[in-house]
Amino acid sequence: MTYFEELYEKYATDVLRVSYFYLGDRQKAEDVCQDVFVRLLTNAPELAQGREKAWLLKVALNRCRDLWRGAWVKRVVLGSPTFELIPAPDDTERRDEEEAMMTAIHQLPPDFREVILLHYYQGYGISEIAEMMGMPEGTISSRLSRGRKKLETILQGGSQQ
C-alpha cells in the first residue's frame, strides 16, 4: 500500500462525512472528497507527520465553503432543510434526539458549523482549529460558544437560516 493509499484508507471517510455534514448533499460531498485527495496526489504537499488529517480537513472545509457560497448551488442544491442521515445498515436504534441534533448542527451558519464539526465531531482542540483555519484562538472559542447557544435555540424550536 502506498503512502497515499494509506492516507485515503485512514482519513477519506472522515473527510467525506465532515463534507456531507457540512453540505447535506452526498454527491457534492463525494466531489469534495475527490478534490481533496486529487489535490494531495497532484500537489504532493509536504505534510508534517500527524498533521495529515488536519490538512485534509482544512482543504475539504475550504472547498465546502466555496460550494456553499456559490449562489446557484446554495439556492438550488444545498441548504435544503431535508438533511438525510445515512445510518449504518445494522443501526436500527435511531434516536429522535440524535437526529434532531445532527439536523440542528447542519442548520447552523457555516462559521459555527465548521468549528462545531472540528471540535465536537473530529475532536480538535481550540488551538489546533485556530491553526487550521488561520484564525485567532479567541475567535474559535467565541464561535464555539456562540455555536452552542445557536444550537440550543434551534433545538428549542427556533431557526438560524
Binding site: A12, M102, Y121
Partner: protein, 319 residues
C-alpha cells in the same frame, strides 16, 4: 445539549452508511492522472505561446514606429531566432539580417508569470503635525482625515453631526463633546450622504475634507454597531484593491466580496492589530474611497475584524 459532547459517536452512528469506497479511490487516481496530463500539455504550450505572442508584439511595434525610428544593429549582439514560414519554400526560409533582427527577442522581454500587476501598498490616511493623526470625534465616534480626495463637493454632504466644541492638539485627553485637532472650533461636522457612521466631512483651512471612521484611544464601535455601520453597504461598492494581491474593478464581483466581508467578519478588538504594509481600498459609487489596514486575516479601521473567508474569496476572484 447534553449530547453535543457525544457528537463523535452520534455522527458516526448516524452517518455510518457513508464510507469512502475503493471505487472512489480509483476515480481519484484517474482524475489525478488526467490533471497531470493537462498540466503537462500546458507546460509545453505556454512558453511556445508566450514566445509567439512576443514575436507578434515586436513586429507590431516595428510596424507602428517605422524603420527609421527603430535603430537596428546589422549584426545582432545576442542570439537570433531563426524562423521559417511553414510551407513557404526557399524564399521564406532566407531572411535578411535586418528582418532577422526584428524577429529577435531581446533578453528580458519575455516573462512568464501572473499577467496582472499587483497593486502596491497605498495609504490614504492623512498624517498630522503632532503625534496624533488629524481627526474629529463626534458622539463617541472618531473619524480620521483622508488625504484622498483633497476636497469633496458640497453635494456629498449629509446631515450635520454637530459643531466642534473643542480644538485641541491632545484630543485623547479631552473629556467629551465634538473634538478635533484639525477642524476649528465652531465648524460644523457633517455626515457624508449615505455613509452616516462611516464617513464625516468638515472644513479644514477652507477646504471641505473627508474623514473615515477609525479606532482611537481604545474606542472603536459604539453600542451595537457592526462592520457595515462603520464602512458601507455592499451595494455601494464598485471596486476593491488589495495590495500585493490585485484589483477587482467589476462592481458586481466587488459587491459580492464586500457582502462576504460584512457577513462573516467577527469583531476582535478596538485596537489595530497590524501596522502592516497591506491595505484594502474600497471604491464606492459616490467616488470616495475607504481604507482598511490588512493583517494576517484581519481588516482594521474602526476596530479589528477577522475574516479569513474574505481573503480566500478575494484570491479566488483574482484567478
Amino acid at each position: 445539549m447534553s449530547h453535543i459532547e457525544q457528537l463523535q459517536d452520534i455522527a458516526n452512528r448516524q452517518l455510518g452508511g457513508l464510507r469512502a469506497t475503493p471505487k472512489m479511490l480509483g476515480e481519484i487516481k484517474l482524475a489525478a492522472a488526467r490533471k497531470r496530463d493537462k498540466a503537462a500539455v500546458r507546460r509545453v504550450w505556454r512558453p511556445a505561446l508566450a514566445v509567439g505572442a512576443a514575436l507578434l508584439v515586436c513586429i507590431g511595434i516595428y510596424a507602428q514606429t517605422g524603420k527609421e525610428r527603430m535603430p537596428l544593429s546589422p549584426v545582432p549582439s545576442h542570439t537570433v531566432l531563426d524562423s521559417q514560414t511553414a510551407g513557404g519554400g526557399e524564399q521564406a526560409a532566407t531572411l535578411k539580417a535586418t528582418e532577422r533582427a526584428l524577429l529577435d527577442v531581446p533578453p528580458g522581454s519575455i516573462s512568464l508569470g501572473p499577467e496582472k500587476e499587483t497593486p502596491a501598498y497605498r495609504n490614504l490616511f492623512a498624517k498630522g503635525q503632532g503625534s496624533t493623526f488629524p481627526l474629529v470625534t463626534v458622539e463617541g465616534a472618531t473619524y480620521r482625515m483622508l488625504k484622498t480626495p483633497a476636497s469633496i463637493e458640497q453635494s456629498l454632504l449629509g446631515d450635520s453631526l454637530g459643531q466642534v466644541t473643542e480644538y485641541t492638539l491632545e484630543p485623547a485627553l479631552s473629556t467629551g463633546g465634538a473634538v478635533s485637532n484639525v477642524v476649528s472650533q465652531g465648524e460644523t461636522v457633517y455626515a457624508v450622504q449615505g455613509m452616516r457612521g462611516a464617513m464625516a466631512a468638515a472644513l479644514v483651512e477652507g477646504t471641505l475634507r473627508v474623514f473615515q471612521r477609525v479606532s482611537f484611544a481604545g474606542g472603536a464601535i459604539v453600542g451595537n454597531e457592526n462592520l457595515e455601520d462603520t464602512l458601507c453597504a455592499a451595494s455601494q461598492v464598485v471596486s476593491m484593491e488589495l495590495s500585493d494581491v490585485g484589483i477587482i474593478d467589476d462592481a458586481q464581483k466587488a459587491q459580492e466580496l464586500m457582502q462576504i466581508l460584512l457577513d462573516n467578519a467577527s469583531y476582535q478588538s478596538a485596537s489595530i492589530s497590524s501596522g502592516g504594509s497591506k491595505s484594502l481600498i474600497i471604491g464606492m459609487d459616490n467616488g470616495l474611497l475607504l481604507q482598511l489596514i490588512v493583517g494576517e486575516d484581519t481588516v482594521s479601521a474602526c476596530g479589528t475584524w477577522s475574516c479569513p473567508e474574505f481573503f480566500e474569496e478575494f484570491i479566488v476572484a483574482m484567478e
